[in-house]
Symmetry: C2
Subunit: 260 residues, 2 copies
């Protein structure tokens, strides 16, 4: 007897050109969906690297325009980093969580709490894949709004109910290597509560709350190569229910966090 297994597929949309400030990203993604061999259905989820969202929204800063303040110059000396980049990081941050440089390292690391609440290296200010020297790229101003706007445009274009997850790539306490996490959400719940569900033996599962949006984000890293050529991954077959959501729901409140 053959079983009917549950399946899920991920498709890296090929052929997305470099994104420039002012580009209509939803339209570019719609074209990519059409030019790839995919048919959208209700419940499909599009995962988008924040860099193309940020670039389309003009969230790019030329370091030549930045005059570092005193705090930035002090941290830059301590960490051996460009003081203008530190200044941009500080402007994006609520606070510096850690600033540290090993004596053997050429450059130190700055962990900051981003103004949106995410705790990550350099307040998510990034140099890769911007296309110009001496520019840095920020997170979108309001990644949930960006996700909702793109989602609504694609839903209208294709006549289906969709979800959108915008990702960034974060390091992690305790574990090596980088994974993608969700920083903007449209329709996709941040977490799925299994509270009240029962396990295979009928016992109630009290505290199992999978971080659905981060599972999707991490999975997207398997196809979202860092060389920047596949910034959008289509998920088909995920079992989920649309809900009002925000990626900031994934931020652990400081008073509940045993780890800071």
């Amino acid at each position: 007897m053959l079983n009917q297994p549950q399946r899920l597929s991920m498709t890296a949309l090929a052929g997305i050109a470099d994104i420039l400030p002012g580009d209509d990203l939803a339209d570019i993604l719609a074209q990519a969906i059409r030019s790839n061999d995919v048919t959208l259905s209700d419940g499909d989820i599009l995962v988008i690297a924040h860099k193309v969202v940020s670039k389309a929204e003009g969230q790019v800063v030329s370091l030549a325009t930045i005059k570092p303040g005193e705090e930035a110059r002090e941290l830059a000396a301590q960490l051996n980093k460009d003081p203008r980049k530190i200044e941009v990081i500080l402007r994006e941050s609520r606070r510096v969580v850690r600033a540290f440089k090993h004596p053997q390292q050429a450059e130190g690391i700055l962990i900051a709490e981003h103004r949106l609440g995410f705790i990550c290296a350099n307040a998510a200010v990034d140099e890769s894949n911007v296309g110009e020297d001496n520019t840095v790229i920020l997170l979108p101003k309001d990644p949930d709004s960006s996700a909702r706007r793109i989602c609504a445009a694609l839903e209208e274009t294709f006549g289906v109910r969709l979800g959108v997850v915008i990702t960034d790539t974060f390091g992690r306490p305790w574990r090596m290597g980088l994974v993608n996490v969700a920083i903007g959400l449209a329709n996709v719940p941040a977490q799925v509560s299994l509270v009240g569900d029962r396990d295979a033996f009928g016992r109630e599962l009290a505290v199992t709350i999978p971080a659905l949006a981060d599972e999707i984000a991490a999975a997207s890293g398997l196809l979202m190569s860092k060389n920047g050529k596949t910034p959008a991954i289509l998920f088909q077959g995920v079992d989920w229910e649309p809900a009002p959501s925000s990626a900031t729901d994934l931020i652990r409140p400081q008073k509940e966090d045993l780890f800071r």
Copy 2:
């Protein structure tokens, strides 16, 4: 013009019955692969929830057999937990990282460094899905060895080159919700170094090291429902190269960790 997108699929193997101590898990998985509509190819990766591995290996402890020591009794009083369960957790641990109970919470939380080095709640000692009351389930004694044994058996059965990732479900500092992480590996690299690769604009990517095994583990959570009925997920289409690996490579050395 149609593009040729890169695709990846995940299949939850249906029809795996409850696993008992002494079961030949590799054989059970081979039967599940045959009874589901899948054909294995070189490079396929099987992701397995550690609970079925632990159960097959007899890593299950009846709390009736446990006499808690003084440290366990003290922590149990502080956290309002079963002292026998605390005793098992301490036996599985190198050290307690945090023991904490909010006044409003019925039961506190114990973060421990597992003897294998993983930092997680309750040293990964778990109550769900064991099938008997008053038993707890531990991690496999050597999850990398378990993964390699299962992988080698399946490779011989099906005549293909495979990878195996054994997972557990961990909470995370700074972020809400649970994700699956890799705790045992066969052939699948823990991390993929992109050092020396270039981004879309030809700039060298200095420090981008995706945690490949954790990306796969987190993705598996999308199909590995917590009710325990789908403990094995087949990944097809992942771009990877086999390498000698260990899930302990994902543990950030304490001296490099800014977060503890």
